[in-house]
């Protein structure tokens, strides 16, 4: 709610600069401003992805950095897109859940396939955030222990308790990569 108020306060900010970043391999550039086609200085990355770019695979739950639902990968690291301002993303490379598929073949990422094989979701709302967190983690630590996987995912909120099947899915994907 605080972010929204700040956003309102900024509605009259003149568009003076530009911000450019790559999402799922495609480069986007916007001027900073308050028109619908612009990026407001207080727009969060999750807002820009969902509302401006239409990439609704990134889910928003708490909108204050507590639940991990909105996790995307930025320059190789998992970030909470509700806690990143889009104007800070100049020059960044961002991958969302929509960008994990092989762009040429359309094949699912092995981690996505592993989530399917282990039914590592129930309602599925937290799943994109789980997958993006796990993906960034496996890139850093391709051969983790179970405890390391749990630690890496400890910021991801899930109420259905998909946790046990998620751990299996991530471990299985890691083992297959070997």
């Amino acid at each position: 709610m605080a972010a929204n108020r700040a956003r309102r306060a900024s509605r009259k900010t003149p568009g003076t600069s530009r911000v450019g970043f790559t999402v799922n391999g495609q480069y986007f550039q916007f001027s900073v401003g308050t028109e619908p086609h612009e990026i407001a200085p207080t727009d969060t990355l999750s807002w820009t992805l969902r509302e401006t770019l239409g990439l609704t695979g990134t889910k928003v739950s708490c909108d204050q950095g507590a639940c991990g639902c909105c996790t995307v990968i930025m320059d190789g690291r998992a970030v909470l897109s509700c806690k990143v301002l889009t104007v800070e993303c100049d020059g960044k490379t961002i991958t969302t859940i929509e960008g994990l598929k092989d762009p040429k073949t359309g094949a699912l990422d092995p981690l996505q396939q592993s989530f399917i094989d282990h039914t590592a979701f129930q309602c599925g709302y937290c799943t994109p955030g789980m997958i993006m967190t796990a993906k960034a983690f496996l890139n850093e630590n391709p051969h983790p222990t179970q405890e390391e996987v749990k630690e890496a995912l400890s910021g991801n909120f899930c109420r259905c308790i998909s946790h046990y099947q998620v751990v299996k899915a991530v471990m299985s994907a890691a083992e297959k990569e070997e």
Partner: protein, 759 residues
């Protein structure tokens, strides 16, 4: 269990699996609408006040604002049981109550407009707990409800809706008892099931008197009925369900947000979306009921219950819609778990100036049992009995029975769950670990462990009617028309799986209609554990009906009677003569076959879940760590192994077991503010603290289901919280009866125990 099923019980991927892992699954807030307006709600800062004056002129003048609505604009639409609560009123009854609604071209402008609405309140004294609400002369939350007592019963369950238990002769029962225990116990910490997706709705008025609503609902068809009532039957509602981002019973009704969207769309002539923020979701959407009993229980030395007498107080918050229904179901459920010949259990539903209660996983039974089992523990302790044996002994068995929600007595015709309980106890090592009441299983320095057990059963598996159509096409495909929104259990895939088993075609050859009340017949909603028996039976019956019609058509071509036919993979053939066959193409290119299936309620069966827990208490910090959970059940026939695993693991989250350890909504009982309405201050279990979890699942065929199955999804949570209290009390060495057992409460208990042992 050996069976010849092709699909039932097999490992299969969920139909929506690829959508979910690629982000393509569309939840309400992902849908796009042309010309959409955004709605926001101005909320009361006071727990109880009269709205003396509202000036909305400045808000209306803000560019982009299309409508500002207050109680004066409410066409007397009312919700609640009884239906007395205006959706916008000139009186506010809790911190967060709706005062005005705004629709604007962007969410930001709508929110900015809220700040421009000037409201003058006359603050009234508030009642923020049941004790103050029930005091003589207490301020009234509703003028119509004297003493803040909400009228008992819900018309939906019929004229004799269960509102209390009066069976046998309690005085005689107590005279026969060897031990009697008495006390007051509660489950009043308001744990929130808290699905990650908030609640919301989009409404579009198609034409005068007709509105289409997309929403986060768990029960789209019921919305059509509920909203029609709330809107004074002035509006015909078409309700469409989407992927639901978790519900746990809480989204059984979303009328509070749906009516706002409907009203705003009516006022603006445009589609309007209202989605609650997480803070609103946690503080202004319905909560779990508060539950407290004052009761006494009589028991013989062998654990036989002789008499139960007392009053169950239920805090419903500022109004009730589903509370009386939860009371009715909760009362039935306690009879299922406590077979006792003599009952006098009264109920009082209390209105307080906190946010309203609504449906939540557990639905009355979890709340009542979480208060009742601690009382039962005192009786078992007096009699020196092992709780596992007592809970097993008193759970309903063939020949037993219970009153159910409609007030009727039902003779139980299900299976004996003792075998599943025994298997569970054996795997858990109950006999080895049980050291007696208030005695730890192990003590190792500052770490003490204890065990506990709980049980729950629900006759809701066959509750409420369900209807479905199944259409067969000549190309060997089928379509299921069913009003179910997938909310996480994977049951939509299972309905297709069971239809595939009946029709003997691959599940991939079956399509499913959207959950759209315009195109499907009635379906109550996948609530409780009714998906497998009630809803699936409607689909199975529709598939059988369609198949019979297909056979009637094919029989003429094969010169035989329909009952001699079978079908497999789109081919109809004569039993025993597979060469005498015709393809479904025999229907021709201009014909489909439509089957109808209905399930009528059956309250004679219940499911059962026994939870065994092992907890560890750190005597230095007071922290309780859940080490191990074992769930024992019998499902008749496993339909979906991975789905079942997920449902059982769900015992921890959605305000189940963890409501005994750290989950609570903290209400300031003097101001009425909820202090932890965010995901940082509301505590939830993380990956880093997962206990060992085990499942013991038996498959004793249940004759009444086509595939001999019963559902258990809902009840994984319910037996857990009281089992945790038992385990922690045993570890600490004295009774802890207050949910949740936070470190502070454990340290206080330890201090008292040490003081006692030092005397």
């Amino acid at each position: 269990m050996g069976n010849n099923y092709r699909y039932v019980g097999k490992q299969m991927r969920r139909r929506d699996a690829a959508e979910i892992v690629t982000g393509a699954a569309q939840y309400l807030d992902d849908l796009k609408f042309q010309n959409l307006l955004h709605g926001k709600v101005l909320r009361s800062p006071y727990a109880h006040a009269l709205v003396k004056k509202i000036d909305k002129s400045k808000a209306e003048a803000l560019p982009g604002v299309k409508a500002v609505l207050t109680w004066e604009d409410n066409p007397n639409w009312r919700g609640g049981t009884p239906r007395n609560l205006p959706i916008l009123d000139k009186k506010v009854r809790y911190v967060g109550d709706a005062v005005a609604l705004v629709a604007a071209t962007t969410a930001d402008i709508a929110e900015e407009a809220l700040d421009l609405i000037e409201v003058q309140y006359e603050v009234l004294p508030a009642v923020l707990d049941m004790d103050s609400a029930l005091k003589p002369g207490a301020p009234l939350v509703h003028d119509e409800f004297a003493g803040n007592i909400i009228p008992a019963g819900t018309p939906f369950f019929g004229p004799n809706c269960l509102t209390g238990l009066a069976v046998g002769d309690v005085a005689k029962g107590f005279a026969e008892a060897d031990v009697v225990a008495e006390g007051t116990f509660g489950y009043e910490n308001i744990p929130n099931a808290l699905p990650p997706e908030s609640v919301g709705a989009v409404a579009i008025w198609e034409e005068p008197g007709k509105v289409t609503v997309w929403s986060t609902t768990q029960a789209p068809y019921m919305d059509k009925t509920v909203l029609s009532h709330v809107c004074n039957r002035q509006v015909e509602v078409r309700s469409i369900g989407n992927h639901v981002g978790g519900s746990f019973g809480t989204k059984l009704m979303c009328w509070q947000v749906q009516t706002y969207a409907i009203l705003l769309s009516g006022a603006t002539g445009r589609p309007v979306k209202v989605v609650f923020s997480k803070e609103e979701h946690m503080a202004a959407f319905t909560l779990r009921i508060g539950s407290r009993i004052h009761a006494k229980v009589g028991m013989k030395k062998d654990g036989t219950l002789t008499s139960i007498q007392g009053t169950w107080y239920v805090d419903s918050g500022y109004y009730s819609f589903m509370t009386q229904a939860q009371v009715a179901v909760g009362l039935g459920e306690i009879m299922i778990m406590a077979q006792c010949p003599n009952w006098d259990l009264k109920n009082v539903v209390v209105a307080t100036n906190r946010n309203a209660s609504g449906s939540t996983r557990g639905f009355g039974g979890q709340e009542l049992k979480c208060a009742f089992i601690p009382l039962l523990c005192l009786a078992m302790e007096k009699a020196g009995l092992d709780p596992f044996e007592v809970l097993k002994k008193n759970f309903v068995k063939p020949g037993g029975g219970y009153l159910w929600r409609d007030g009727d007595w039902y003779q139980y015709r299900g299976i004996d769950y003792s075998k599943a309980m025994d298997k569970g106890a054996e795997r858990f090592g109950w006999k080895e670990k049980w050291k007696g009441w208030l005695t730890p299983t192990s003590v190792n320095g500052t770490k003490r462990t204890g065990i506990g057990v709980g049980v729950h059963g629900n006759a809701d598996i066959g509750e409420d009617a369900a209807e479905a159509y199944v259409q067969l096409s000549p190309d060997g495909t089928a379509t299921i028309f069913l009003c179910v929104a997938e909310h996480g259990t994977g049951q939509k895939s299972n309905y297709a799986r069971m239809a595939a088993e009946v029709l003997q075609i691959a599940p991939e050859r079956i399509s499913m209609s959207p959950a759209d009340s315009l195109v499907t017949p009635f379906e109550f909603g996948p609530v409780g554990s009714r998906g497998t028996y009630a809803i699936a039976s409607a689909v199975i019956n529709a598939a059988e009906n369609a198949k019979n019609k297909l056979f009637e058509f094919a029989a003429a071509k094969l010169n035989t009677d329909p009952q001699n036919l079978e079908t497999s993979d789109g081919v109809v053939f004569v039993k025993g003569f597979p060469e005498k066959k015709v393809s479904w193409k025999v229907l021709g290119n201009d014909r489909t076959v439509l089957g109808f299936g209905r399930f009528d309620p059956d309250h004679t069966l219940c499911n059962c879940m026994m939870s065994f827990v092992e907890g560890e208490v750190d005597t230095e910090t007071g922290k309780v760590t859940l080490l191990r959970v074992l769930l024992a059940t019998d499902v008749g026939q496993i339909i979906d192994p991975q789905g079942l695993e997920g449902q059982l693991n769900g015992c921890l989250g959605s305000a189940g077991i963890d409501s005994a350890i750290f989950e609570e909504t903290i209400l300031n009982r003097s101001s009425g503010h909820i202090l932890n309405a965010n995901l940082i201050d509301y505590k939830w279990r993380t990956f880093a603290e997962l206990p060992v979890i085990e499942h013991v699942v038996l498959e004793t065929p249940i004759p009444t289901h086509r595939f001999h199955a019963v559902g258990v999804g809902e009840i994984a949570t319910s037996p857990g919280p009281s089992a945790v209290l038992m385990a922690v009390s045993n570890a600490v060495g004295c009774w802890l009866h207050d949910y949740p057992v936070t470190p502070q409460k454990v340290l206080n208990a330890l201090r008292n125990t040490n003081a006692l042992s030092n005397k």
